[in-house]
């Protein structure tokens, strides 16, 4: 008989990620779904090992290169991934005995009928163990660049050092390697009593729950599997949303009777959050494809917000004049490079390019210029991204003010008191940073269209 071999599954995921380019978080989710009946600790091992190998890739390859005559980059894919897995277990997984990390690696190689290479794999890993034990490895790694130590492509480090400064960048790199917990948002109608009750039931189911950094209705959940099965989820008492993205509806300062338009809404978190503050108004939630709109609708239904949110397919780059001057509040949470969520999607950092950052900033400006007319005079525009990049964030805020003619509107009355980092000419911009705010990296900015607004080209 044979049992499920977690390392075999991890190797498969890593190879699919490398060869087919499928995003790792999707592969991990599929594998966890497929092996639902595996014990929690085995599933957690699979997830950590996969994510660990991805997030430390540059460092792991540097270690491999030190002990292999052939550099990691020119090894066969299977051997390269097996070695990365082995080195990660040796350096970062204390619960795995060194001998097991090495012998399991050898077994993976043998199973793929590459017996001739099993000796090589064994030798490299044994050398890593010996060198670690003698303290040589630590000094080797200390002498390497930030890029190796934090497994971050050099050009991104250069970009951030340029935009944020060296000290800030180093602290952020550290924070981006931390494991980010899942964050949940309780619906406003959930009373503090009911919330305590639900949190209690979650704890009974083995979840660890703690308050998030800023908002009283946001909590971090760890140690859980199958979030959807936890009490209150199916009933729409809470939903999954990072605290940073909750700042969007907060920044809007919703009174309760507005028309809110969310131009890139999937999967619907911000739209639902806004709708939960509405008594009379409603939310129009747009996105590009049927698939995304179905996803929004499923979420609306679960949260019981069908009467307040209307989801439909609408390309944010295409102008629809019937929407002109119809929104009191316009959410522009636009496609971005995602550098703020590297702690959740570990392969983003290896995939983006400088060219892509420029293309995305241009796409964001195209969308902003197209949808700004949907705003009523006196209305509020909230621009947001989940990235840390001036080109997409602060420079596009400048674009909204200088080119689109909106005025900065202060975030201070809307956001939690004492939150650091609010900047800009009208205190209207906030770059959330993981090492400062404890959230994902996220940018939010607030603007108002003047009552007497007349675009220059009309």
């Amino acid at each position: 008989m044979q049992t499920v071999n977690e390392r075999e599954i991890v190797l498969r995921i890593l190879l699919d990620n490398e060869q087919k380019g499928t995003y790792s978080h999707l592969l991990i989710r599929e594998a966890l779904d497929k092996y639902k009946d595996l014990p929690d600790n085995q599933r957690a091992f699979m997830k950590r090992l996969t994510e660990g190998v991805l997030e430390r890739r540059i460092e792991l390859d540097t270690v491999i290169d030190r002990f292999s005559k052939k550099p990691a980059a020119s090894l066969r894919p299977v051997i390269r991934q097996v070695l990365r897995m082995g080195v990660y277990q040796i350096l970062y997984m204390d619960a795995v005995p060194d001998a097991a990390a090495a012998s399991e690696a050898v077994r993976l190689v043998k199973k793929r009928k590459m017996d001739s290479l099993s000796g090589f794999v064994n030798a490299v890993l044994r050398n890593v163990i010996r060198s670690r034990d003698r303290g040589e490895l630590a000094s080797l790694l200390e002498e390497t660049s930030l890029s190796v130590r934090y497994s971050m492509p050099q050009w991104l480090i250069d970009l951030w050092e340029d935009q944020l400064g060296k000290g800030e960048t180093k602290q952020m790199l550290e924070a981006l390697l931390e494991v980010r917990p899942v964050c949940i948002r309780f619906a406003p109608e959930v009373s503090p009593g009911e919330r305590e009750d639900l949190l209690c039931q979650m704890r009974e189911r083995g979840a660890a729950v703690r308050p998030a950094a800023w908002l009283p209705y946001a909590f971090y959940l760890t140690g859980t599997r199958d979030l959807q099965d936890l009490p209150g989820y199916a009933q729409g008492r809470w939903t999954i949303q990072d605290e940073s993205s909750m700042f969007v509806a907060e920044a809007a300062g919703i009174r309760g009777d507005e028309i809110v338009m969310d131009v890139c809404a999937a999967p619907g978190g911000k739209s639902m959050h806004a709708a939960s503050y509405l008594k009379e108004g409603r939310v129009l939630a747009f996105d590009l494809t049927d698939h995304k709109v179905r996803q929004i609708r499923r979420n609306i239904q679960r949260m019981g917000l069908e009467d307040r949110v209307q989801a439909q397919v609408q390309d944010a780059r295409v102008h629809v004049s019937q929407y002109d001057e119809s929104a009191d509040i316009l959410f522009c949470d636009l496609p971005c490079s995602g550098l703020g969520i590297i702690g959740r999607k570990r392969d983003i950092k290896y995939r983006v390019s400088r060219k892509e950052l420029e293309d995305l900033a241009a796409l964001q400006r195209e969308i902003l210029a197209n949808v700004v007319s949907y705003l009523k005079p006196g209305g509020v525009l909230i621009y947001s991204t989940c990235t840390i990049n001036r080109l997409e964030n602060q420079e596009n805020a400048d674009f909204i003010e200088k080119e689109l003619g909106l005025v900065p509107d202060s975030l201070l009355p809307c956001l939690p008191e004492g939150i650091p980092g609010i900047e800009g000419p009208g205190q209207n911009r906030l770059q959330l940073l993981p090492h400062i705010h404890g959230t994902d990296g996220f940018f939010v900015a607030r603007f108002r269209k003047l009552e007497a607004f007349r675009p220059a080209d009309l």
């Binding site: 008989m1 044979q2 049992t3 999954i240 911000k270 698939h291």
Partner: protein, 178 residues
Amino acid sequence: MALRTIREYGDPVLEKKCKTVKEMNDRMKTLVKDMLETMYDTGGVGLAAPQVGVLKRIVVIDVSEEQNDPHVLVNPEIILAEGEQCGMEGCLSVPGKMGQVTRPNHVICKAFDENMEPIELEGTELLARAICHELDHLEGRMYVDLVEGPLHDAGEAVPVDDEEILEEMEAQVNGEIE
């Protein structure tokens, strides 16, 4: 000692009932050693003689993490099976596949060891599962006939529609997580 070739699903030897071992001669002792070596080499937790082409009532099992707790069962017989467990199992004779099988959660089995001394082996969970799986082989039965639901490809990611992935990915990058 030597590694033996594992017979794969479809080989008629796997469908036959095995014969009782009358005495533990040198040939049988070598077989037991080879079976253990083959099981460890392939990362299995159990192996039955018909899987290496020998129609004798012999199985070897080791479910320990360190792979240092071998059980050799000659002419085994289950004398108690109770409870229920449901989980994934695979078989060295059906490479690359896994499936969900319901098994008793507690079994006691009487048998002889490699010296033909009578022994009893009691197991729960994984050990109980392995005992049942291997003893089935001696009757010519395979786990694939007991699988509930699909027979999965072990370790292989489920293929997904590409566009779906792309959209899902964009939704994720743009918004909320998981």
